[in-house]
């Protein structure tokens, strides 16, 4: 191998360049369900080239260790790919992120030990400059917090840790101060005012910070957190690249960091949240507004448009339950079109019209008639309620109180005794909604956390259009 490096000058750099191109093309392909498989394959090829490139770097100390690492890692990776079910994808990503972060952190620590702590007496080699110290500090911090943060996220997703948000007063202030303290440590290390031993203090603080910043976040918001952690692990990898002067790590890390950040931004937008809200770790449920006893027992599960489309695709009978959210989003035309697409596939589609759906009597009728929904498809509550039990998917479109099971059971609730649509009797319920916010009556809806219910967050019109697009592929 070293021979090859001599024969082909700069072959490592060429391989890295090819790897970087493959990463970028791969990520581009991942943005659409059609090309995602190819994208994944391209990125994997890129990774292979990057590994080959690194192996002929010429600075290899012991091949045995590399072999052990590759075999162990390869076997674990293969087992995860084969045996972990697709539904456990978020957990898997959490683990991979966390391990990536841990790797970056460990590399950082090693480099610090090698160049700063164990530095030969009297050596004045400028090899590890102040810049390197700073980047190594960032690398250790990001790597460590990504590791523990991801492990907590994994625990929450897996149910090992309560997925309810754990909060205490002044949490955000503590977190921000903690973060500032870590940054101060890095500055101190760069200027040389602090003993290099403080690198370990930094690592310890970052490990704790990872836990502190994920604990207050509720289970339903975990996807956003995972995307954020993904970004952090990418940044950690990029920092590693700077420390090791490894270009492909910088490129891959930057790609990973920016795509993670973009993904979390998109998810925030879909959930009607700002990024600051997420960055401060206060994403666990509506902040402030929740009073005691009003909280939901359990966590809503959120699904993607593609998953929702699959469920609709597999259904034989679908009932659409429109509410004021559909009217406010102006989604009635899109919903009609969605129903048409489903009908073309031989799926039976009906609309369940609750007498108080919307903000005026007949609100749904007026809008759906405007969208040319046949009157025969609109079914009154009393007639359609028995049919839910025989329905595969109840698609709740911006409706809330009119399908809240609290009306049946929760005595003292403002809607107690109101007849509701029995959507929870359907095999599966998909709720399209902008956020978890309550409806007109101002009370939370247990339906959203029912085991057979999945939340599809987003603007009603956009979501419906995406569903149509996915189903028409």
């Amino acid at each position: 191998m070293p021979l090859l490096a001599e024969l082909v000058p700069m072959s490592t750099e060429w391989l890295y360049l090819a790897a970087a191109v493959l990463f970028i093309v791969g990520i581009r392909d991942l943005s659409s369900a059609e090309t995602a498989r190819r994208g994944n394959l391209l990125a994997a090829c890129g990774m292979l080239l990057a590994i080959v490139g690194t192996l002929q770097h010429g600075l290899i100390v012991k091949w045995e260790w590399i072999a052990v690492g590759m075999v162990a890692g390869g076997v674990i990776g293969l087992m995860m790919a084969v045996f972990m079910p697709m539904t456990a994808m978020p957990e898997r990503i959490a683990i991979v992120n966390g391990l990536g972060g841990a790797a970056s952190g460990l590399v950082g620590i090693c480099e610090v030990i090698r160049h700063v702590i164990m530095r030969p007496e009297g050596s004045t080699a400028p090899e590890f400059s102040a810049f390197h110290v700073g980047v190594a500090g960032l690398e250790i911090m990001l790597g460590a917090l990504t590791f523990t943060g991801s492990m907590v996220a994994f625990g929450k997703l897996k149910g090992l840790i309560s997925s309810k948000p754990m909060t205490y007063p002044g949490q955000n202030a503590v977190n921000v101060l903690w973060l500032l303290a870590m940054l101060c440590l890095i500055i101190g290390l760069v200027t040389g005012d602090l003993n290099p031993v403080f690198f370990f203090v930094l690592a310890g603080m970052a490990l704790l910070f990872g836990v502190m910043f994920v604990l207050p976040i509720g289970g339903a918001d975990m996807p956003v957190v995972i995307a954020m952690l993904n970004a952090y692990s990418g940044l950690a990898a990029a920092a590693t690249g700077f420390v090791l002067s490894n270009k492909v790590l910088i490129i891959a890390g930057a790609l990973d960091g920016s795509s993670g950040l973009l993904l979390s931004l998109l998810m925030c937008r879909a959930m009607n949240r700002s990024l600051t809200n997420v960055l401060l770790g206060a994403v666990g449920g509506p902040t402030g507004g929740v009073s005691g006893g009003d909280e939901l027992q359990g966590d809503p599960q959120s699904i993607s448009t593609v998953e929702a489309a699959e469920r609709l695709f597999d259904a034989r009978r679908v009932i659409i339950v429109p509410g004021y959210g559909m009217a406010a989003a102006g989604a009635h035309f899109a919903i009609r079109e969605l129903a048409d697409v489903l009908k073309e596939r031989g799926i039976s589609v009906k609309y369940a019209i609750h007498p108080v759906a919307g903000r005026m009597p007949g609100h749904m009728n007026v809008l759906l008639a405007d969208a040319n929904v046949p009157y025969d498809d609109l079914v009154e509550m009393d007639v359609i309620n028995p049919e839910f039990a025989d329905t595969d998917v109840a698609l709740v479109m911006g409706a809330n109180d009119i399908c809240n099971p609290a009306a049946r059971t929760a005595e003292g609730s403002p809607i107690y005794g109101m007849p509701i649509l029995d959507v929870d009797h359907a095999a599966q319920v998909i709720v399209i909604k902008r956020s978890m916010s309550p409806g007109f009556a101002g009370i939370p809806n247990e339906l959203f956390v029912a085991p057979n219910c999945a939340m599809l967050f987003g603007d009603g019109k956009q979501v419906a259009e995406q569903l149509i697009e996915t189903l028409s592929l």
């Binding site: 007498p355 108080v356 903000r359 009597p361 007949g362 609100h363 809008l367 809607i415 005794g417 109101m418």
Partner: protein, 381 residues
């Protein structure tokens, strides 16, 4: 329990408090329904239809009320009818108790437990009993048809070989139930529609029906009270609003006003001056005519054409012009209410239920409704 449904005696009243369908529901619930002969005539419901549904048809009024326990009416009973109601009976009707003090005190004196369905709280589960909401649905729809008939043109935008017809511009003031229904109906007739309300929260609701929300002045959340109704505005705000409104009015072909404040005269939204600014041939339909009207020139129950050629319609009880649907909705509201409050064959007037507390006006010889007592106290002192 004996439930009686008398014929409505008030002039122009076409509704009836029960339909064959609600008779059946009450019958199933173990109530014995007696309907006065001819009660459903104006709504197109024959005595036979009622008796087929299980009601007993009674010809003489005194016999009808004798031994009755629950009386279902539309309008408040006249003084003579009140004397026929047995003491201790339950009356369900629309009493308008914040305004009609006389009938309230008569019913109290008579010892009648009177529920007034126009006082149903605006909460989700009581929607099925909310008569104001059902009647407003009909009046909102009808108001647009009235306006359309009174307009010198038609409403939609048509480009034809004989020239282009520009769409009518319709402004709906007050986006409550009637206002929203008017907006939806005008849109369906092809007009360009604007909506306005002092409660900024309804902007989204107006827009959800495809209309535009007219932004006049800075609005605040304070205009909606806890019950979901509009509150009276301060003088200053109203003046500002009028100035801004005048400019918009000059553009409109039809204006439908629906602003009502419970227990108060209707607020004036359109002054004489503002009407003068409107185009000749334009039409105002004032749905608040019963409470004096939202327009200064409104003649309740009549039509009026201003010097500037603006037609102002002040219809009363517009829902009575569609008696079949008005009766259907009203009777359903009544039956929903009755079956809600009547548990195990009796009506508990002491119940803590929000719906009972909100609607029970008189009981045990006294006026018991808090807001009605407040109004009564204010007028006495």
């Amino acid at each position: 329990m004996k439930v009686v449904v008398p014929r409505e005696l008030a002039a122009g009243e076409t509704r009836v408090a029960a339909t064959p369908r609600t008779v059946k529901r009450m019958d199933r619930a173990g109530l014995e329904v007696h309907v006065e002969s001819g009660a459903g005539e104006a709504s197109g419901i024959t005595d036979e239809a009622f008796s087929e549904a299980g009601a007993t048809i009674v010809g003489d009024r005194a016999g009808l009320f004798a031994g009755s326990e629950i009386i279902l009416c539309v309008k408040p009973p006249d003084p003579e009818t009140v004397t026929q109601i047995p003491s201790g009976a339950v009356l369900i009707a629309v009493l308008d108790p914040l305004i009609e003090h006389e009938v309230v005190s008569q019913l109290a004196t008579r010892g009648v437990s009177a529920f007034s369905l126009d006082m149903v709280p605006r909460i989700a589960r009581a929607q099925s009993m909310d008569v104001l909401s059902s009647m407003s649905t009909l009046t909102g729809y009808q108001a647009v048809l009235l306006a359309s008939m009174a307009l010198p043109g038609i409403m939609p935008y048509l480009t034809t070989a004989a020239g282009t017809l520009h769409p009518a511009k319709v402004l709906v003031l007050g986006a409550g139930v009637a206002g929203l229904q008017a907006i939806a109906t005008a849109r369906r007739l092809g007009a360009l529609v604007w909506g306005y309300d002092i409660r900024p929260v309804v902007k989204e609701q107006v827009e959800s029906l495809g209309a535009e929300f007219l932004e006049l002045i800075d609005t605040s959340d304070a205009a909606e009270d806890a019950g979901g109704y509009a509150r009276e505005q301060s003088e200053d705000q109203a003046a500002q609003q009028r100035r801004a409104m005048t400019a918009h009015l000059a553009e409109m072909d039809a204006v439908i006003t629906t602003a009502l404040i419970p227990g108060r005269p209707a607020p004036i939204l359109l002054t004489t001056e503002m009407v003068e600014a409107m185009k000749p041939g334009s039409v105002i339909v004032d749905l608040a005519a019963e409470r004096g009207g939202n327009c200064e020139l409104t003649r309740p129950g009549g039509n009026f054409t201003s010097d500037g050629g603006v037609t102002i319609l002040g219809p009363l009880d517009l829902h009575c012009s569609v008696p079949a649907h008005a009766s259907l909705m009203y009777a359903n509201n009544v039956a929903n209410f009755l079956l809600h409050v009547c548990r195990d064959g009796r009506i508990d007037v002491e119940s803590d239920d929000e719906v009972v507390r909100g609607t029970l006006v008189t009981s045990g010889g006294r006026v018991v409704h808090e807001r009605v007592l407040e109004v009564l106290g204010a007028t006495e002192s």
